[in-house]
Symmetry: none
Subunit: 225 residues, 4 copies
DNA sequence: AATGAATGAGATTTCATTCAT
DNA sequence: AATGAATGAAATCTCATTCAT
């Protein structure tokens, strides 16, 4: 698989917040840093709260209570709860994208890429779940269907669709194939989380085998010949 | 695949609606029937409303407005919107289960079964017009883990586990494989619905190819070699 | 104190329900008995429920749940929740009135009457409290201010006002004096209930002494000479 | 009665309203003041509304409609109507306590104290226009057992207990006697308010006569001879 | 009479957002 | 920018009462 095929064409990270700037920045940067830090604090709290209560059930006050800010301050950073949702999705995608991109850059074959991407995804899923801490009792304990996770799915889907430029896959319905990969990863990921010791490697190998041979099968029996 | 192999041995269908009316009691039967009908009317309205507005955006009022019932009546049937969602998901799973069983009874090979089951599933999904229970992972905040949902999973898993008795499939993790099949069906089904003219046959063929060759690939590359 | 002074002038008890008719009544009386029994069952349940939750907080369904009747049946016996309240007050007064009347008939002096009436009242209060069973956590444990209790107060107030025909008490403001007696009985009764072993005799003696000597003092220093 | 005897030794008044504003912080003080004012506005409205409609009939909306605040604002101050009632009763007791203390400080004899306290109480009650907290046992479903209510009781009881150190009163049950005094004041106060022209002096004289001669009577006829 | 589901007005309560400080 | 109380529209939910069976 050619490198260029795996490198997404879109713009380089603007790294909008510079969230983890080293301490001791110039004084001029302090206000900036504090603004960015507040924004990031809200996003972090939202990640926690939304995965515990769900986007709808969580209130802006629940989110802001997870920071040391006052409720009104929220609106200095986000125009609305909905904008927070979008920003959170962006943030999730933004945090996952470099990981995914590194995998793409590193990978030399499609198998290599799929393996790296799935592994990264499962690691992300496990981390998110741990990040979420205690899960609300009424939620299936394994269902990490947060806004952020959905954004990650979109990212993966984009990468897969992109890589289907691959010769042997030309006849495959990219939309369905990406969906199928997503479906496999999502459900297997959920089962993995349900197990006592989430086995990222095992889940990854399973999905890789299924996806690759599935792709082979599809390219031999094209849906629209 | 032998017929008897696909018929799971567990309990007979619990007659889905109001089975407990006393025989020969016309008046009581009517009251019962009307209760079941009202419940179903709410479920139907919820299905419609949730797929139009999404679960989160829809209010309980939106749902009952979709029936000819009064607002308070909702609470004779469901304690909350959340309980309604679970019932809806359960309802979808419950109504799909007999269809799945019929496919299992009919099918003579695994390919036959997979094809029939997927085709039936996609037809069901189209008929239900994007039923929140069976499909839309991205519409509901979580997948309810209701008895009926589990039953469907177990049914699928059972059929697969039986097949995995085949020589070529001994090394496959049945749990993951069932999850993967469900994931593929779920996500490809959702994509299919998103298209102007849902192409049940195309989606079925795609999934069958992916699942069968995926299974082949898995049996050759065992997860724990 | 002359007997006739102590006998209230109003109509004889119509005994409207005949609640405790002996079993084995004529068949013709059965429907009647059952009607009366249902009514009484509702009143009994209301007594319990109202003293636990308070009149406002208690719903008609709470009351009816305390019987073996259906909710709609309530309205065969009472036009409204408010009518139930009135009936309950009547019932309380009706049950207390014979007791009070017996005291009045028995008593030969005012002291004798006051003693008997207070003793009867405190016994009634203790019984009511026991009848109420577990008291709602948010209520002061000793405050038996049920609709029924208020009716009993009215009864007592009437009797006291009536007996102030007594010679030495002519110059006393009967309204205030009845109120004062009520206040003493009410508050001392509440304190008594708060004690580990409600001492009816002690409370009675205390109140009698206070009321009688209070009356003496009042008759010597009349408020409107 | 010696001055020092009537001044209870316990803790100084907890400054009733918003005492915690930082000194010299005008802006913060204003916000605080406004919060306290709003709380008081709700209490005042509640006092009015509850005495007009009765506690049970009045809704939270009736109360806030009596202020210039918005409906939701109520819940910044009170969790429920019940909590409002308690606060109201507490508020009444809290505002009456200093008045009672002043009487105790001023009075030189027990008669003097009783007269002053009752007169002050009746004046307070008239000014409050039938305050649900201090008076109307029959308006509220129960007597809240708030700290301030208990404090008033203890204050009265303390003054009485001291007096009962007197030779003539050694055998009196101070608890019952305090309760009796409070009961007399409460009920006579309610009757007084019910009259066209509340006659504070008359009510005071009546209660003083009753309490003083009642005490005499009690000391002669000890409760446990 | 008895039943218990349906009704719908209205009560309670939440919460995204605004705004004065 | 930060604060946090106020806002009020809108949601949830209760419940006295009715009514078809």
């Amino acid at each position: 698989m050619a490198d260029e095929a795996l490198i997404l064409a879109d713009a380089p990270e603007p790294d909008p917040a510079g969230a983890d700037a080293a301490p001791g920045d110039a004084a001029a940067g302090k206000r900036e840093r504090s603004k960015a830090a507040n924004r990031q604090a809200i996003l972090d709290a939202a990640r926690r709260v939304f995965s515990q209560l769900g986007y709808e059930a969580a209130s802006v006050r629940d989110v802001i209570r997870g920071t040391d800010l006052a409720s009104g301050t929220f609106y200095n950073y986000f125009k609305s709860k909905e904008e927070l949702l979008e920003a959170l999705q962006d943030d999730g995608a933004r945090r996952f994208r470099p990981i995914l991109r590194a995998e793409m850059a590193r990978a030399t074959t499609f198998e290599d890429f799929v393996t790296g991407a799935l592994s990264a995804y499962f690691r992300f899923v496990v981390a998110e779940q741990n990040d979420a801490g205690v899960v609300a009792a009424h939620q299936a304990p394994w269902h990490a269907d947060t806004p952020e996770m959905r954004a990650v799915f979109q990212e993966v889907r984009g990468a897969i669709a992109h890589t289907l430029g691959d010769a042997r896959a030309r006849s495959i319905d990219a939309d369905y194939f990406a969906a199928a990969c997503i479906g496999i990863a999502r459900e297997v990921g959920a089962r993995m989380l349900a197990r006592p010791n989430p086995d990222i490697d095992g889940a990854t190998k399973f999905c890789v085998a299924m996806i690759l041979s599935g792709m082979d099968g599809l390219s031999k029996a094209p849906s629209t010949p």
